[in-house]
Symmetry: C2
Subunit: 351 residues, 2 copies
């Protein structure tokens, strides 16, 4: 079966505010490197498929930037969402496009803004997934990450016994998905052998479209309409997005479908969900400070400090996040950096 | 006796860095008001003397800004130091200029960058000083501030019994000057009735020049040379500054002279020596945050936050200083804000 890869690049960039912001979401940042996260995501799958088998779903506000970032990508493989409606419409749209080429294709869904340390490990996991789908084409597969700490910022997956295994990988039926836990629950989940929900999926395109029919029947109707108008009506995509509800693939399908499986893996994954996680992913100095830009720190430890235009001086500061974006500056304890997007929404409402 | 007022406006502006900086020292900032500290200092003494009796000693780098700030001041009353040499040369230079007009004049010396809440109380203390000098012309008088807390950022003055008193003021001989104490010593000083050393002085100009002769004889010789060349040699001032040592009036004369007296007073004085003191002087919100500019704070208390160009967001931050200057950003705990100038010097050396 041919494989197609869909990169979801529609994030709003609130969690790494103020470095990320409207018009410059996380996937278009280069965090500690020269390449953007989107570019890295693209290059990471290049050994697996041809550029014409890669699709990027993104918003109209940044589609031009995406095109410039990925000049190898055929222009028609950039699928532009007129407005964001969470992940289910995005995946449905991409599945419809792929199905027109090859209804039995395997479709991989990847967020554009994750960090992966062991790229070959990641590809090996996907290859095991491809092989698993040859044997068990009915499954919706999610990549589960073996936790290395009791993270409260991720959802968890409770697995059952392996269905099959090879090369150190196994396919296990999913018993249940769990929301982001508090610290106590996170510890319990780890003890019980749960995995982090990475938001990376693979399945056959005909299978996921059938599941839309089963669990999101209204959206499935709109997908059928999209399928029939896509190549002749220039408003087809806009009409589809106008008509469908905003819902995640997790809530809309994965948590309800019967044949859902997980491939546990450890390839140094992080969704870079907060400034605290940046501090965990990127290198730090002897005092534990992760710094970028023109930063001077005295008697300061375990901070995440990001300077963009100005010099940043810390004296006697510990366990803090200090980030200078182009338009704003954020200061908060590392342990509060998960709350940034919440307060950002509040701020936008209030001011 | 006529009175002349000398405003020392030569500060380098390191302690309120990064808002203050080279070329924009503290005296040229308007902190929480529309007028600069220099302008406020000038206006504060206007009810006492005519503009031609006010002198401002300042550096060549900011003399033009000083002139613009004080258009009422005769141009020749701006005394420009070619380079900074601490307070003794500055005071000797001004005393020489005043002595040429009136050798028996009273001379008041005031820093340009202090905050005074009760301006009439301040002028009443000076008027008492003028009266005291009529009776006791031999004294070098310093204004001592009655402490309202055990501050470690100021020097202290140990007084003896009053020599004379009137209108709630008294003149008391100084027993000793004490350096900035640690917290324990500061408490002891307060219990023993010591006063803060404000760095504001008054004396007869002939008396202070005589004391230069007694305790800084080399500088006195240069002052005599300055006196004889001032009006005919355009290099006179530069030669004087080249020749003299950099020394403070406190260390050079006040701590050694015999007839030194203090007038204790309480007029809401602060030398605004740190960002912490800014938080104490300026108004704060219900959570104790002193903010300026475009600041948004959530679940944050007792911070001093200064935004200049960018939006500043605090989440869960307590007892911190966050200041965005034009070129740099400072983050430190309030209790460390005394150390800013120390680390600034270190930074300039290292980078």
């Amino acid at each position: 079966m041919p494989q197609h890869i869909v990169i979801m690049a529609g994030g709003k960039g609130e969690r790494l505010w103020p470095l990320s912001r409207e018009g410059k979401p996380k996937q278009l940042l280069s965090l500690g490197g020269e390449k953007t996260l989107l570019r890295k995501t693209f290059e990471r799958v290049q050994p697996l498929v041809l550029p014409q088998q890669i699709y990027v779903v993104t918003g109209s506000d940044i589609s031009e930037q995406v095109r410039k970032e990925l000049p190898e990508l055929p222009k028609e493989n950039i699928l532009v969402e007129p407005f964001p409606k969470n992940t289910a419409p995005c995946i449905g749209y991409a599945a419809t496009v792929i199905a027109q080429k090859n209804p039995q294709a395997i479709m991989v869904v990847l967020p554009a803004d994750h960090s992966i340390a062991d790229e070959e490990g990641f590809r090996r996991a996907l290859r095991f997934g491809f092989a698993s789908l040859e044997q068990h084409p009915e499954f919706l597969i999610t990549l589960g990450i073996v936790p290395d700490h009791a993270e409260t910022g991720y959802g968890y997956i409770a697995p059952e016994q392996p269905i099959c295994g090879r090369d150190g990988f196994s396919l296990r039926k999913v018993k249940a998905f769990h929301e982001k836990p508090d610290a106590k629950k996170a510890k319990k989940y780890i003890q019980e052998g749960y995995f982090w929900n990475s938001g990376m999926f693979l399945w056959r395109v005909d299978v996921i479209l059938r599941e839309f029919g089963a669990y999101l029947p209204l959206m499935h109707e709109h997908l059928l309409a999209l399928n029939s108008t896509l190549n002749r009506d220039r408003n087809a995509v806009t009409d589809f997005y106008k008509n469908v509800e905003a819902i995640s693939i997790d809530y809309g399908i994965m948590e309800k479908a019967k044949d859902v499986a997980v491939i546990p893996a450890s390839f140094g994954w992080s969704d870079i969900g907060s400034w605290d996680s940046i501090g965990k992913i990127l290198p730090h100095d002897a005092a534990g400070n992760t710094v970028q830009g023109d930063v001077v720190s005295y008697e300061s430890a375990n901070n995440v400090v990001w300077a963009t235009e100005k010099k940043l001086m810390l004296i006697g500061v510990e366990d803090m996040v200090v980030v200078e974006g182009e338009e704003a500056i954020l200061v908060c304890p590392r342990e509060r950096s998960q709350d940034v997007s919440t307060f950002l929404k509040k701020m936008k409402k209030e001011f």
